[in-house]
Amino acid sequence: MTSTYPAPFILSNIYDKIKSTLQREEWEAARGTAVLRVSLFVTCLVDACFPEVGVSAVRLLRRLGVEVDFPPEQTCCGQPAFNAGFHREAGAVAQVWLESFADSDYIVTPSGSCAGMIRHGYGELWAGTSPVGSLAKELSEKTYELSQFLVEILGVRDLGARFPAKAVYHPSCHATRLLGIGDAPLILLRRVRGLELVDLPFAEECCGFGGTFSVKFGEVSGAIATDKARNVMGTGADVLVGTDMGCLMNIGGRLRRLGSPIRVLHLAQLLEEGLA
């Protein structure tokens, strides 16, 4: 998977754009390089259920010299309503999202699914020609899933983290198929000291979450999650890591019900814990 945004070009662009403010010039002087300004889209799920994932994401980005802000008006990208077919409701919530991030240089989110909604779903909600559609298009091009941002934009591969454990990685469908983050999470994970990464059989098969599907078709969803959980357990790993809390909550919920002690971690948590 090659990036459509060559990092050096973007870096120099951004460098020109932001070097005007005094504070940033100080930063640059101190670090000898351009400072990227990132707005964190924490997602409603992480905000309400897994705030620690957002905390880890912020700390990781800061360690890499990125300036992080948190637009306070953000709530949700609108995906739950969009996928359920409630497009008027999705559009209303997505507009709030657009307003919240209208001034951002980069938007980074610890969810491939929400980034996928913005990059892909917004195009379905609004034609690119309408005013709101063109804003959506502009912002969607600045939106990245966390690991994608680290690898594609910052060019980071080795964070210097250490995490002695046996881990499996679940590639989330929206991150890989809608967003196309490719191997970004694996590139980062492979360089974590002490981390033994084992292959997950049928890794690319969905975990069965699917938003409201998981409740509407709870039995089917549960059956798919069971297969996924069994595949995870079969590897003998002690950690399951991924890029999306929706999927991890689903697989983790099934693992817990099956009595498995496997720890379920977002990539940001694993990396940050490995740096602490």
Binding site: P51, Q74, G85, H87, E89
Partner: protein, 480 residues
């Protein structure tokens, strides 16, 4: 299959059938791996997909023109063309031919469209025996069922079950080993081939330029059905056209690789009309039945038009996590899996009965990724859902829930208050950091999975502290 059951009920029933689930999974695994290997055997698979898609798009955008050309060429070849708007028209055309020929028995090779219009039943009603000659279709026919997979109609049946069906048909026990089963079917079907008055086939592709019908088969039955009986009727969906033989070649690479994982099917039969003077075989009469049966609804609607690009390879079924759990019958009609969920509500034009199919998907997009002609099936599924909701078909509770979603998530202030209040309320059900299994509205989830409790402090509440942390600070207080 009860006629008025819901997708959810049918899915639940399928989930209880352990045998079915294992059989479907084994087969789809095999097909999935086969497809992957077969694609690797083609040098530039992605470009081939793009070409295939471009051909299909071009045909669908110019369908009138190509239908006209195809019709002209078939007639020039000495064949007859019947354009059928509805299922009843197909039935009428075919039964009239059968009556005129005084036909008693018909042999068929695989045709999904004839399942759509329930042709076999219609023929039987006028006293004509119709026998499926594709082994899988034959099994399904004996069982009185519908195919459960586009290219493997009987993948839900094991040898034991097949032996029982064959024994009943033979009136004596047929052993459940592959040889005995195949031997029985071969012997029985040979008799049928020899006595048939009419052969009916489907059509994988019709070539407009030459007026030919092309069939991909693995058992050779297609050849017999098209050449032994004195009459050959090919039934095709009106979108199933490629402009030229060159375009057909692209499909010859795409379809078997995506479907069965073969580089090419064992037989490719190309039929261009009836026997001509001086030719030694082929039918006396050739009829091409071109079927709309709801397809123009897809054609007219730009949101769903792409679904007509489908080449019926079945790849989207094999990768679909839902299909892999429940198999094809749960989809309730002829076309299962993601493509079935997309086309059934439109072909049948009945939202009340079929509108729930597009909701039976996780939207994982594995289907779109697998589709050889790059139909964005997951987008089409979402568009269906939007259509369903816009038509006012969503349930009251769900409508209320999303109205509330809009209100609460439509402003950060309201969101903060509402989520805070919800968290406090839900504390009543929290055990050990998770929700107790009987929280109202979550049953579908909690039957099989634990659900995490809402955090006591949201990320936005932690942010003020976090904002003050200096870069590189480790493990500060802010950890919820």
């Amino acid at each position: 299959m009860t006629p008025r059951s819901t997708m959810k009920e049918r899915a639940s029933a399928a989930l209880r059938d352990e045998f079915l689930r294992r059989a479907v999974k084994t087969t789809t695994d095999k097909l999935f791996l086969g497809r992957r290997l077969a694609q690797q055997s083609y040098e530039d698979w992605e470009r081939l997909r793009d070409r295939g898609r471009a051909i299909r798009a071009h045909v669908i955008d110019n369908l009138d023109f190509y239908l006209g050309r195809l019709t002209d060429r078939v007639r020039a070849n000495g064949g007859q063309v019947h354009l059928c708007r509805e299922a009843a028209d197909v039935v009428r055309v075919v039964t009239e031919i059968a009556a005129r020929r005084g036909a008693r028995s018909v042999i068929k090779s695989k045709s999904m469209v004839s399942e759509e219009v329930r042709l076999n039943r219609a023929l039987e009603e006028i006293g004509v025996r119709a026998v499926e000659t594709d082994l899988g279709e034959y099994i399904v026919q004996l069982a009185g069922e519908m195919p459960s997979h586009i290219i493997g109609p009987a993948i839900h049946k094991n040898r034991q079950q097949i032996a029982e069906l064959f024994s009943r048909e033979a009136g004596r026990p047929v052993a459940p080993d592959t040889e005995s089963l195949a031997a029985f079917a071969r012997r029985r079907l040979r008799e049928e081939f020899l006595r048939a008055d009419i052969g009916i086939t489907g059509c994988n592709f019709a070539v407009a330029e030459t007026g030919s019908v092309c069939l991909f088969t693995n058992e050779g039955n297609g050849r017999m059905v098209t050449s032994l009986p004195p009459v050959h009727i090919a039934v095709m969906g009106m979108e199933r056209i490629v402009p030229t033989l060159e375009d057909l070649e692209v499909m010859m690479h795409l379809l078997p690789r995506s479907g069965t994982g073969q580089k090419l099917t064992s037989y490719v039969t190309i039929v261009s009309g009836p026997r001509r003077e001086g030719e030694s075989d082929g039918p006396e009469e050739f009829h091409l039945v071109i079927v709309d049966n709801g397809r123009s609804r897809l054609l007219r609607d730009p949101r769903f038009r792409e679904a007509l690009y489908c080449i019926r390879c079945g790849a989207c079924l094999n990768v679909c996590p839902v299909y892999r759990q429940i198999g094809g019958h749960a989809y309730g009609w002829v076309y299962p899996g993601p493509i079935g969920a997309v086309i059934t509500p439109l072909l049948q034009d009945d939202l009340d009965r079929w509108g729930d199919l597009p909701f039976a998907s996780t939207l994982c997009a594995a289907c779109s990724e697998a589709c050889p002609v790059k139909i964005p099936l997951h987008d089409l599924l979402v568009r269906h859902r939007a259509r369903y909701v816009a038509a006012g078909k969503a349930g009251m509770a769900e409508r209320a829930a999303f109205r509330a979603f809009r209100r609460v998530f439509g402003a950060a202030k309201k969101y903060k208050v509402a989520v805070g209040a919800a968290e406090k309320l839900l504390r009543l059900w929290v055990r050990d950091g998770h929700m107790a299994p009987r929280v109202p509205g979550l049953k579908g989830w909690t039957d099989s999975r634990d659900f995490p409790a809402l955090a006591r402090r949201r990320f936005r509440d932690l942010w003020p502290e976090l904002e003050k942390e200096s870069p590189g600070q480790k493990g500060g207080k802010a950890h919820g």
